[in-house]
Structures are given as structure tokens and as C-alpha cells.
Amino acid sequence: MSEHETILSLDRLSVRLPAGADRTHALREVSLEIASNEILCVVGESGSGKSMMANAVMRLLPNEVTIDDGRIMFEGRDLCAASIAEMREVRGDGIAMIFQEPMTALNPLRTIGDQIAEMFSIHTDLSKAEINTRVLALLSDVRIPDPKVAAKAYPHELSGGQRQRAMIAMALALDPKLLIADEPTTALDVTTQAQILKLIRDLQQRRKTAVMFITHDFGVVAEIADRVVVMQHGVIVEQGTASDVLHHPQHAYTRQLIAAVPPLKAPPPRALAADNILTISDVSKTYRTGGFLGRGARVTPAVKNVSLALPRGATLGIVGESGSGKSTLARCIVRLIDPDTGSIVLDGNDWAKLSREDVRRETQHIQMVFQDPFASLNPRRKAAELVAQGPIVHGTPRAKAIADAKELFALVGLDPSAGDRYPHEFSGGQRQRIGLARALALKPDVLVADEPVSALDVSVQAQVLKLLAELRQRLGLSIVFITHDLRVAAQICDLVAVMKDGAVVEHGLAGEVFGNPQHAYTQALLDSIPGGEFAREHKV
């Protein structure tokens, strides 16, 4: 096989959606080529059609969605015209696929080894012993710790990163010519993501596989892509080599996407107030689950002796991966969860010690913005009512509360007349604005934002962050900002605290933590950001 022959080529592929979808075609006249031994990144936001394209190549489209024009050329034949039996031979053997959510993509009732072995039993005639050897070899190739044990394990017994490694092992079992990876690292922690990206790059180089890597993150593109294809609304808007597209983007949408990736350099520091509005001292929370009559209970320390301070008017970022305890800490601060020990002093009052009733009364001083724009609004209430609920509970007459709500709408950049609509009629970004308005309705001193932009598309993220920055300037808000994404934290936080396993490992001014990290974990986090130099330096 020569170094750069074309493995897959899409020739004006069009995929039609059923009636009633928001557009007629998922893909329209898409043409691209993937050569062997290269990684092609397909970049786009949700709804761009990138996943549809992967499913179309594998002929795994849902029933109502059909290919109505174009060709998919693989190994000299048109996959669009292939029969189901022919496609079954290609799948797994010629083209393999890995998916985004490794927990749900693996059968929970069968062992890992079993599922990998199935690849061999479908496409080859090897003996069981031979298959077992190969499975173990594959598992060690993807650097899973203790392959023998892993092969006998069930999916729920492995971590997210290990499950994804197992999926990669399964996909590469038969040395396919093309590997399609549909957002394989999106659901993983930053450090795990860095490892998996490295793994894919290594394996690709060793086996000379062609890889179609689908992602929404331009940082990932900078990290591993050889060539890039940018998609929007089912159409390719730009393609080229990675360095061309990253440094000299031609299309306006590409430029918008690249600009939306927050750079890692912290903006110049602002002056901070001398007094602290919120002081957290020695807060701990431990979970005890299970156990029969007190024995055998599983004890999980979620937050361990955390002490932090938030100056008036400043933004404190709490950064950590999943399981670091940051969400638990956030919920302790607003007393959604009761901390076991420690004090949370807000403007002289120790929140941790207040009774339930007092908390309900005092809660107007500290409000929360939630992560999931879909789940954080009651689907059966109109938008204006949702924003007015807080003041109404605290005694404001209804008419005034609704009027105030409409003013808040304008403040967060929404049309005041939209107050009569229901949440499902708004987009994700708009819903987050409603959530923000709701939190601001009680005129709090402190705002706790729990991953407020993590569930949004990249371009929308930038807008909401901009809004937050404006509001904090206008209203003099003090903000506690929880996130897992260092790049986001760099943009908006004055102070940063890094959490791991329930404890704060490093904290200080944002510029210092990012520019001169002291703790090994902080350094590891910074190194794991995909597309390192690109993230640090690209001009906004």
C-alpha cells in the first residue's frame, strides 16, 4: 500500500431527512477524501451533520433518513449501492467506528474480552485460543492496565478512559483501513482526553490507518489533525491542511469557530477589593452509602477541608475534573447540600450554621446558575414566571415581579415580550440567559455559577461568557465560577482554585496559576489542554 492512496472518497453525498425536521437535508453535496496514514478532522457544532456523515458511510442511518444522491467510494466500490450483506463484511473489517459514550456503547451484560472477541468471530475463522491471544495483545496495545483482568471485566467495572481504550481495541482488532471516531473524547476528563488523543495518534502512525476524527473542539484539531474539514448546516464550508485552516481560515464561520475557542492566556488582572464577601473555611462533606446495619458502608469524602476567599466584586474560579468535588462544594455554598463541618461566612453571617427556615429567608443573597439549560427550567412554566418566582416567594406582588422580570430579560439580552413563551421554545443559549435572569431577580450579592456554559455550543459559550462579564461590571457581582475547562476559567476569573479528589491543590491569581503553576496536578491539567500552543497563542 503506497503512503498516500485515497482510502475513502465522498462524491457529492446528500442525505435526506424525513418531513418535519428543521431542514430538508442532513448533508448536501458533501465531497471529501481521506488518504491512508492521515487524520482528517471533521469539525462542526451540533446540527452540522458530521455524525450523520459517519453513520452514512457505515450505512447505519436511522430508518427515516436516506441517502438520496452521491457516492461513497471505498476500496473501489460504491458503498451506497452495496447490499446489506456486503456492508456487513465491510463493517469492522474495512471500516471501524468508535463512539462518544463508552459506557452506553458497550453491552453492560457481557465482558470486555467477550465483546472484542466477537469482532474476530464475525469476520474470521480463528480458533478460540488464537482469538484470546489476540484480544490480550490488543488490550496491551491500547495500554489498558492489567489486560488479563480487564478482559474478564464488565464495562461498569472500568473507568471512562479504560472503556474508551477497550472500544479502540475492539475497533482496531482487524486492522481496518479506516477508523471513524465520532467525538470519542468529548465525554472524558481533560487529562484522560489528552491520553486517548495521544493513543489514537500513536496507533494511527504505527498501523498507518486512515482516521476520520469528528469533533467540535478546534483545540483537538490543533492537537492531532493532518487535514481539516469544517461543516455547517450539512454543507462543507472549508477544507484544507491543518496549518492552513488554523492559521489562515478563509470562511467567516471557520473564523468564528476558531475565535470562540478561549485562549489560555489570562486577560490583564483587574484590581481586587480588599475585603472578602465570602469566606469558606474548612468545609468538608463525606458521603456514606450502602451498608447493612452500619457495616460495609462505602465512605466517599467528596470535599476535604476546603478554605477559600472571594473578594467583593471578584470572580473566583474553581477548576477540577469530574469527581474533584467542585460541584459538591458549590452546592454546599448555597446550602442545597449541608456541609458536615466548616463555616461559610457571607457578609458576616455563617451560612453553614443557619437552620432550614433561615436559609430559605436569606437565600436571596446568594443565588445559583445551573449547568443544564434543558433541565434547569420547569418545562411547564412560562419564561417570565420562572424569573419572577423568586421575588414572588419572598413577598413581591405578582404584577410587579413579572414587570421586573421583563426588565431583566432586556438586561440579559432577551426580548422582553418573549416572557410569555415556554422553555422549549428557546435555544440552549437563550435558556441559560433565562437562568441567569432568574438568579439575578433576587439581587444577590454572590452568584454561584455551576458549569454554566459547559452544555453549550462553542460559539454560544463565548456570547454567554461575554454577557457574564458585562453583568458583573454593571451590577458589581461577586461570582464563584465552577468549570472543568481551564480555557473558560482563564477568560473570566480573577482568582483560580484547582481541586482534585476533594481538596484544593493550588490557588491564587489567575495569571499566576496559569503562567507559573506550582502543583504537579495543575501542570498536568495545563499540559492536557488539546492544541496547547494553539490555545495559548491564537489571536482572538
Binding site: 457505515m58 447505519l60 456487513r88 463484511e89 465491510v90 463493517r91 469492522g92 473489517d93 471501524a96 467506528m97 463512539f99 459514550e101 452506553t104 456503547a105 458497550l106 453491552n107 453492560p108 451484560l109 457481557r110 466477537e118 469482532m119 464475525i122 469476520h123 464488565y154 461498569h156 467495572e157 472500544m167 475492539m170 450502602g290 447493612f292 460495609g296
Partner: protein, 325 residues
């Protein structure tokens, strides 16, 4: 073994439930007009107040209610279920006599309903929204809506009266004393219609659940992975879908155990089977409250044991359960 200890824990947790049931029903029965002694005296053809008082003292019915309750629970622990005034025998032996037909009937109906529910559910799910599915689902709905006792009666009309293929009732032919294989076949022929009758509604339920479960699983991610590996549809179903889709069915067996026992009351009455269900009915009609309480106890025990077995099977099928302990 982890599975055993987990199921054992659930079993231990059902003891308070059992006690709750017994206390509840016992107290409830105190509200009933007339008690065991009244029923006995009715049997004896009347008696005077003195006899009534003597009898009440003998059976401890003159004590206060909490004392009676304590007495009863204490006797229960020693498996003494009291005395049946109607049958003139200890309740325990009456129940023991009537247990085999009910257990046979329930086992047969459950197997019938589960097996065919599974098969038809899978067929319906594979051909979803096409004619096999529409036919099976429609029949399922009709079976579900059919009153079991009415179906039993109609079955008797068709199969016993007109076609004369099967006997109209009873457990076995009392006239001729058969032994060995002939007895088994005789009992079997007597159980065909009752099994069909009792099993029909549950067939409809299992069918619907299996179909829904299959459709649910067919949309899950790991089925897509299996297809992406190049598996053909049949093997996708047998190796990846079936076992996962079975889980809700297994749970359902436990949940429906009580309903099935209740259904046997009616079916045994229709087909004159000498089982536990019919005993319950007779106890109500003849106001034999001791026996009724005994039946409540045994029914609850049966349901709890079925649930215990179901827990074991479920833990065996799903490795995630033992992990959460």
C-alpha cells in the same frame, strides 16, 4: 456468594412486611360481624350463650385484642395456624392439602405465559408496525381485556360441552383410580383449560412488556456498536438484545406473583379445582376467619419466596447488581 447474600438481605427486609400484613389483616378481621365461634355454632346448629362463652374462653377469644394478636403471632412462629371451625381440622393441614393443585396451576400458567409472551413479544418487536406486530399486539390487547372467569366459562362451553375434548372441571377423575403415568396424564388434561385461562391475561402482559423492552433495547447505543461490527440482525438480537431485554420480564414475574395467586381464586372456582384459591373463597362465604388468615399468611409467604427466587435469577443475569452492594 454475593448473589445469595444480596438476595438474603432483601428476604430479611420482607419480614417486617410480612408482620405488617398479618397485623393489618388480623386487626381488619376484628371488624367483621361475627367471629369463629359464631360460625362454629351455626355449624353445630345453634347453642346457648353459656356454650358460646365457654368456646370463646377455650379459643382465647375473650382476651383483649392486643393479647389475641400477640397470641396469634406467637403461635404463627411455631407454624400453628389455628383450627378451622368449618373443616374441623387444623388450618395448617387444610391448607397443605389444598396447596398442590394451586402450585401446579400457577407453575403451569407462569411457564405458559412467560414462554409464549417472550416468543410473541420478540416476533412483534422484530416486525414492528408491520402485520405480525399489529396482529400480535391486537390479540394481546383483547386477551388482556378478557375477564378470566368468562374466558374459562366459554372455554368449557366450547371444549367440554360441544367438542367434548377436555373435562369441564375438577382436578382428576375421581371415579377411576389411576396410578403412575395415567394419573399424570389425567391431571394434565384437567389442567389444560385452567392453565390457558389463568395464563391468558399474563400472556398479554408479558407480551407487551417484552415487545416494549425489545424496542427500547434495540434503540440503545450498544446495539449500534454491534451492528457497526458487522453482526447480522439475528445475532444482534440473540447475543445483545435478548438477555438485556429479559431483565424487565424477570422483574415482572416477581411483581405479578401476587396477582396470579389472586387470579387462581377465580379460575379454581370456575373449574372446581380443590386449590388454595377456592379455599379462600369458601372461607369468606362460610365465615371461617381462621382459615382466611392462614391463607393470607401462606399467600404472602408464597409471594415472598417467588420474589426471592426472582432476585437470585436477576442478580445472575445482571452483573451490575452485585457491584452496587
Amino acid at each position: 456468594m454475593r448473589i445469595l447474600s444480596l438476595a438474603g438481605r432483601r428476604l430479611a427486609a420482607s419480614i417486617p412486611t410480612l408482620v405488617l400484613i398479618l397485623i393489618g389483616v388480623f386487626l381488619l378481621l376484628q371488624f367483621a360481624p361475627g367471629d369463629t365461634v359464631d360460625a362454629m355454632m351455626a355449624q353445630m346448629g345453634g347453642g346457648d350463650a353459656a356454650t358460646a362463652r365457654e368456646l370463646r374462653k377455650f379459643y382465647g377469644l375473650d382476651l383483649s385484642i392486643p393479647a389475641q394478636l400477640a397470641n396469634y403471632l406467637w403461635r404463627l412462629v411455631r407454624l400453628d395456624l389455628g383450627f378451622s371451625s368449618i373443616y374441623g381440622k387444623p388450618v395448617a393441614s387444610v391448607i397443605l392439602e389444598r396447596l398442590p393443585p394451586t402450585i401446579l396451576l400457577m407453575t403451569a400458567s407462569l411457564s405458559f405465559a412467560f414462554f409464549f409472551g417472550l416468543v410473541f413479544g420478540v416476533i412483534a418487536a422484530r416486525g414492528v408496525n408491520r402485520w405480525p406486530d399489529t396482529l400480535i399486539s391486537t390479540l394481546g390487547l383483547i386477551f388482556y381485556a378478557t375477564p378470566s372467569f368468562w374466558f374459562g366459562l366459554m372455554a368449557i362451553v366450547v371444549f367440554s360441552v360441544y367438542l367434548q375434548w377436555l373435562p369441564p372441571g375438577g382436578f382428576e377423575d375421581i371415579g377411576t383410580m389411576r396410578t403412575g403415568i395415567w394419573r399424570v396424564l389425567d391431571i394434565a388434561s384437567h389442567l389444560v383449560l385452567p392453565t390457558l385461562t389463568l395464563g391468558l391475561i399474563f400472556l398479554a402482559i408479558y407480551l407487551r412488556i417484552m415487545r416494549a423492552s425489545m424496542l427500547e433495547v434495540l434503540n440503545l447505543d450498544y446495539v449500534r456498536t454491534a451492528r457497526a461490527k458487522g453482526l447480522d440482525e439475528t445475532r444482534v438480537v440473540t447475543r445483545h438484545v435478548l438477555r438485556n431485554a429479559l431483565l424487565p420480564m424477570v422483574t415482572l414475574i416477581g411483581l405479578q406473583a401476587g396477582t396470579m395467586l389472586g387470579g387462581s381464586v377465580v379460575v379454581e372456582s370456575v373449574f372446581s379445582l380443590p386449590g388454595l384459591g377456592r379455599l379462600a373463597y369458601e372461607s369468606v362465604v362460610q365465615r371461617d376467619l381462621n382459615t382466611l388468615l392462614g391463607i393470607v399468611f401462606v399467600s404472602a409467604l408464597l409471594v415472598i419466596s417467588v420474589n426471592f427466587v426472582v432476585d437470585l435469577i436477576y442478580a445472575r443475569l445482571d452483573p451490575r447488581i452485585t457491584a452496587e452492594g
